[in-house]
């Protein structure tokens, strides 16, 4: 059954975490459109792109079943990048966002829209023109995108993420995705007053940095650079703030399939890829580099490096209880 569902499964045999295949066959060319446009990336890739999309089409026929039967294979495929044309659908499946509609058959979204005024309507109006200000969909005031964004945000308020979702799905689906993100992906804690989850992520991140790159950790510390200065945006928007589009969507593919761990991995990868430079720099230059890393790093290299950084799930749990213990102790 598996064989009929997937015409080719070259990904199945590969090492779970490796990126070696990325240079060769199908997958890599697809998501990295910018790279494909470069000289050397000629027509030969086009056919493999088509094959890649075809594979995904087949997967999408019953992605839930495929997910159950071929968990690791699907994980690999997702890590290589979901084809853009199927992204909206796949994301909703991964987050199981449409479950919301079966739980609330009476049209929750439409009902909330009819509320005369949302709690934070003022905040929303202010931020609306400042979310993806350069993207075609959102550039015009009262344009198509800004209106949709406003409507969805009236029910919640997570501008950049919602903006990204609206590029791939309609308002009601984006709304359901947000609900799933807040709930299943625990993002609610990121936005609650006091940003409790962000604080925990910073702690975990700083400890991971210490474990993976002790020298860099010490250097940053000596230069008084801490994670709040550069990583708030990474964690709060899951790289939708000021990151190139192809990086953003690749991270989101993996984030929706595998959870928050990818955010830590990408964050560590950003530091890893630039550590030689960072070592030579002091406070201001470091901050500048980390804030701009978004534009200088290549999507493929970043995702590959991120996936090569191993963070056993137990470690995050351990660090979490360490964090909780520290908080309980009066300082």
């Amino acid at each position: 059954m598996q064989a009929t569902a997937v015409p080719s499964d070259e990904g199945a045999s590969e090492d779970d975490e490796s990126c070696s295949e990325l240079d060769t066959l199908t997958a890599p060319s697809f998501p990295a459109e910018a790279e494909r446009a470069q000289p050397g990336g000629k027509g030969w890739k086009y056919r493999s792109d088509l094959r890649y999309v075809d594979q995904w089409r087949v997967i999408c026929i019953d992605i839930d079943r495929f997910r159950t039967n071929n968990r690791d294979l699907l994980k690999q495929k997702i890590r290589h990048g979901v084809p853009d044309c199927l992204r909206g659908f796949v994301w909703q499946k991964l987050a199981a966002s449409r479950d919301l509609f079966s739980k609330h058959p009476e049209g929750l979204y439409q009902r909330l829209l009819r509320e005369p005024e949302a709690v934070c309507e003022g905040d929303i109006s202010r931020d609306i023109s400042r979310t993806f200000p350069k993207h075609l969909l959102f550039r015009e005031r009262s344009g198509l995108g800004q209106d949709s964004l406003f409507d969805v945000l009236r029910a919640y308020s997570m501008g950049f993420i919602t903006g990204l979702l609206l590029m791939y799905m309609d308002e009601e689906d984006a709304f359901a995705m947000l609900a799933a993100l807040l709930d299943k992906y625990q993002m609610a804690g990121l936005f609650r007053p006091g940003l409790p989850l962000l604080d925990k992520y910073f702690y975990q991140f700083q400890r991971l940095l210490q474990a993976h790159m002790p020298r860099l950790h010490d250097h940053l510390r000596a230069e008084n650079v801490d994670a709040t200065m550069y990583a708030s945006q990474w964690f709060m928007t899951v790289f939708t703030y000021n990151f190139p589009f192809e990086v953003m969507v690749r991270v989101w593919d993996i984030f929706l399939a595998e959870g928050i761990k990818i955010v830590f991995r990408v964050a560590l990868a950003i530091l890893t890829l630039q550590q030689d430079e960072l070592f030579k720099e002091s406070f201001e230059a470091i901050l500048h580099r980390l804030k701009c890393s978004a534009t200088t790093l290549k999507a493929e290299a970043l995702v590959c490096t991120a996936l090569s950084i191993k963070i056993p799930i137990g470690v995050l749990k351990e660090l979490e209880s360490e964090y909780n213990d520290n908080r309980r102790q009066p300082t």
Binding site: R126, F132, G194, T228, S232
Partner: protein, 225 residues
């Protein structure tokens, strides 16, 4: 070589969407950034300006205005020598909240912090909702400085920073005089900056060590913020 006499740390605070980030961009890049994103967490910028014959390096933290970021931005008050509380002259609410921001700065920052109220968007004359006079009075009553700016045209932007820097420099001079007159390190208690301590958001740069016998620590590096 970007040598400087002093390093001052500033923070930009105020309601969401009043133009804090645009003021910073205007100061540093001399241009207005159209279609900028709202700030998440904090942003950072630095610039060396000339104030009363001294080269002063400003390290500026630009904070997110939204209430929910308060827990992240709070920690940046502590190290600041100067604070710019920005409001939008076309939006009275942002002006009314000035008092809250001031209270925040007074409780979270050092006692000797120099504060200026900044009425931004002065180019939007038709939409003005807060007069120059009332804001100026309010600033006087609260013993803080005041200026209006337009991040769009750049009008008043550098002046704001210069004005605060001047005030801090004056405090340093007074503090030094205090010490020279043998009054000891009482500067902190009288609201003056004591240049001999490394605790404040003020640090002497390498240049001042070469030029004059400064009582400051031989460091141009900053301490934790």
């Amino acid at each position: 070589m970007d040598a400087y006499d002093y390093l001052f740390k500033f923070i930009l605070i105020g309601d969401s969407a009043v133009g804090k980030s645009c003021i910073l961009t205007s100061l540093i890049e001399n241009k207005f950034k159209k279609g900028s994103s709202h700030t998440i967490g904090v942003e950072f910028g630095s610039k060396i300006i000339n104030v009363s014959g001294k080269r002063v390096k400003l390290q500026i933290w630009d904070t997110a205005g939204q209430e929910r970021y308060r827990s992240v931005t709070r920690s940046y008050y502590r190290g600041a020598a100067g604070a710019l509380i920005v409001y939008d002259i076309t939006n009275r609410d942002t002006y009314h909240h000035l008092i809250n921001w001031l209270a925040d700065a007074r409780t979270l920052a050092r006692a000797d912090i120099s504060i200026i109220a900044v009425g931004n968007k002065s180019d939007l004359k038709d939409k003005r909702a807060v007069t120059f006079l009332e804001a100026s009075r309010c600033a006087q009553e609260n013993e803080i400085l005041f200026l209006e700016t337009s991040a769009l045209t750049g009008e008043g932007v550098e002046e704001v920073f210069v004005k605060v820097a001047k005030m801090i420099l004056n405090k340093i001079e007074d503090g030094m005089q205090h010490i020279e007159e043998g009054l000891g390190y009482h500067g902190l208690f009288s609201g003056l900056i004591d240049p001999a301590t490394m605790m404040s958001g003020v640090h002497a740069g390498a240049r001042s060590l070469l030029n004059e016998a400064s009582p400051a620590e031989p460091a141009s590096r900053c301490i934790s913020c």
